[in-house]
Symmetry: C4
Subunit: 225 residues, 4 copies
């Protein structure tokens, strides 16, 4: 944090990692908070507040799903940065690509919600599910890149993170890429609702694995106070 921890002529290091964390946390905090801007007080005639609120139900559901999704992405990003000892210019760029995926997530979610509630016919829903699957694929790509980079560059890995551990992590974006693609195909060829359910299953998968990978490790295990 202090300037003396930096290695200004020798490339980025720990202090750089702190700034990457601060910047990333800022982006996550803003994205998860901006979602609330979509929650608007409905206009209504006197006596009509309750039905007006219920009519907006799908917008509220989309808000909750988006909030959970950004939360899951934050937990995954958290777990990623714990693997790093420092950062490099390449990692800064990969991180920007990861944040790009985070920043756009409200958009395909909103398109999906709109297509399934008011505007869309069956073809629109296929397009919306396809757009969502495409966005999810774009979001998985930089995660693939970052784990590949960590496999080739042991010097940026944190103490105790070995090659096998990093390779195990690679399974998640690969699973994401394949299954989001399948969800998109299912939504297009079979039924948009099937694709939608497959996408929700994928969000739950990423939530569970961000937990699951940690659970297999030993707990902090310090004595009771």
């Amino acid at each position: 944090m202090a300037a003396t921890e930096q290695d200004p002529t020798g490339g980025p290091g720990l202090a750089e990692l702190d700034r990457m964390k601060a910047f990333s946390d800022g982006v996550f905090a803003i994205v998860i908070t901006l979602l609330v801007l979509e929650l608007r007080v409905p206009s209504y005639e006197p006596g009509g507040l309750l039905p007006a609120l219920l009519h907006e139900g799908s917008a509220y559901l989309a808000f909750v799903v988006s909030f959970v999704y950004v939360g899951v992405l934050w937990l995954n990003h958290h777990a990623l940065l714990r693997l790093l000892r420092g950062t490099t210019p390449a990692l800064n760029w990969i991180n920007l690509a990861i944040l790009f995926g985070v920043v756009i997530i409200p958009f395909p979610t909103a398109v999906l919600a709109a297509a399934f509630t008011e505007h869309g016919d069956r073809y629109d829903r296929q397009v919306a599910v396809g757009l969502y699957a495409l966005s999810a694929a774009l979001m998985s790509l930089p995660w693939l890149v970052v784990f590949g980079y960590l496999r080739r560059r042991p010097e940026v890995r944190a103490v105790g993170i070995d090659h096998a551990y990093v390779r195990a992590q690679t399974r998640r974006p690969v699973t994401g890429l394949i299954l989001y693609g399948l969800a998109g195909l299912l939504g297009w060829l079979v039924d948009p609702v099937v694709g939608l359910i497959a996408i929700m299953v994928m969000i739950a998968y990423h939530a569970v694995t961000s937990e699951g990978i940690r659970r297999r490790r030993r707990p902090p295990a310090r004595g009771p106070s």
Copy 2:
């Protein structure tokens, strides 16, 4: 803060707690600042600025109340994180649930303000007070969960925080759950204005207890400089 403080294979620890703080502070800072977006320059005919501003009075009052409420929640969150030595995946999820309650607070506040000023009749005001009480209950739940978790997991508690202290903290969300529920019932069965006053009393209660719990402790008590 530095990578060497982390325990990357042994689960989250202090560095993780720093990121949780940074993310939470970001969310609080954004929510409290986004409130100002509701303050708009009123449109007016030449010479009509003063009455136009006065007509918006209730929106300005709602802004002040929301600002104080988010500030109170920040102080309570502050006091919560001081109880922790580190964080765990479960605590990360509970914290996301707490932040969910923070992020939505402008919405029921806006519904309430609208129902009591321009749009609503008595039934709408009952609905608005009910929605607010429901939101407050949702907000109290993760606080109940977190204190229960801290009672069962002494290893995540900060040094000097014992079981009795944590149990004493549990009283606040329990009080909140019961009294916000009563405020909702009062607003529905007796009079919406009574419910509204009860809600404002609850906000004041949370403001006073976030202070009061600290006041009972000894002051920093370092010598004068």
Copy 3:
């Protein structure tokens, strides 16, 4: 920053001050960035972009003034937090009141800009200058309170900050309170434009004193590298 730096049962301390800084910096960063939302691409007929941009000139000037003002407030807040060793519940509340003044600043600025460009007559401009002076008074009050608090509580002052130094700082909010009041009266009784100029002089005064107080101190004075 680490949990071990905290004094969880003995009241807030250094770690608390870090969170207050992080929260305040977040609020300042968001306010200064949200200002850009007022810069909109004007609508125009083909060939009409340049006059359309020029017509928005006063909105761009208001943006620049607001940016400088929030920047000045950030520098003043910076200088304030350097006086503190730790924080207390009372200081947390005073800081929230200071941030309240920061968060609302875009609103009276926008009212002023609107009254002086399109909507207003002379009476509206008097109201707008009066609103601005009232807001500035509200903003000066918590600064008065915080310096009074620091005079009475030497144990929260940073090392090397004595009573006389804190008292000298008190002069700025007192000057602000009196001169912003005078600016409001001048704007109301003499001419709104005179009040407006007096307000801009006050912003410049706060910019210069946030610098000036530092300049009187010795420079970092480490050897050349």
Copy 4:
């Protein structure tokens, strides 16, 4: 970070630099995230989602370009702050001027996108390219100032940063100032599209040099774990 690291009577130092970093990162995080507010779900008739999305294509391209540009500016700012040992009042003001350039970047980008897609004729595009070149010149100026300041003030430079290194950095804003100016002239005198391409080349130049300067240094080069 802790109060003891500060030198409260002797001018700003390391802790001050941390707050400048936190504030700057907050501004960058908010600007890069606010860009997504321009991505709106298009309105469409049933069955018309795909063409409606494709019609918005240029807005999506402008979003991607703006995201990359802000990311590039963040990396450049990153590299700048690594040159500093501490901060001074003058550096705080220069940093505010740099952030001013960052905060306004979405505006000329949006004017440019609008002029090249729907609203504009050839004259409007000349104006838009000119506005963009002018903004870029304004953005380069504080970078020129900051490197000049660092040349004259060795005591604020981080360990290992010498006069020659700082002077080498000056080349980038000078190049930016000249070439953005040329891009504006090309866009005005020859063809707006030529100016637009020249601007995109400049963004790529700043992206490559923020990397390139780092690549010439030795890698972290710690042993494999």
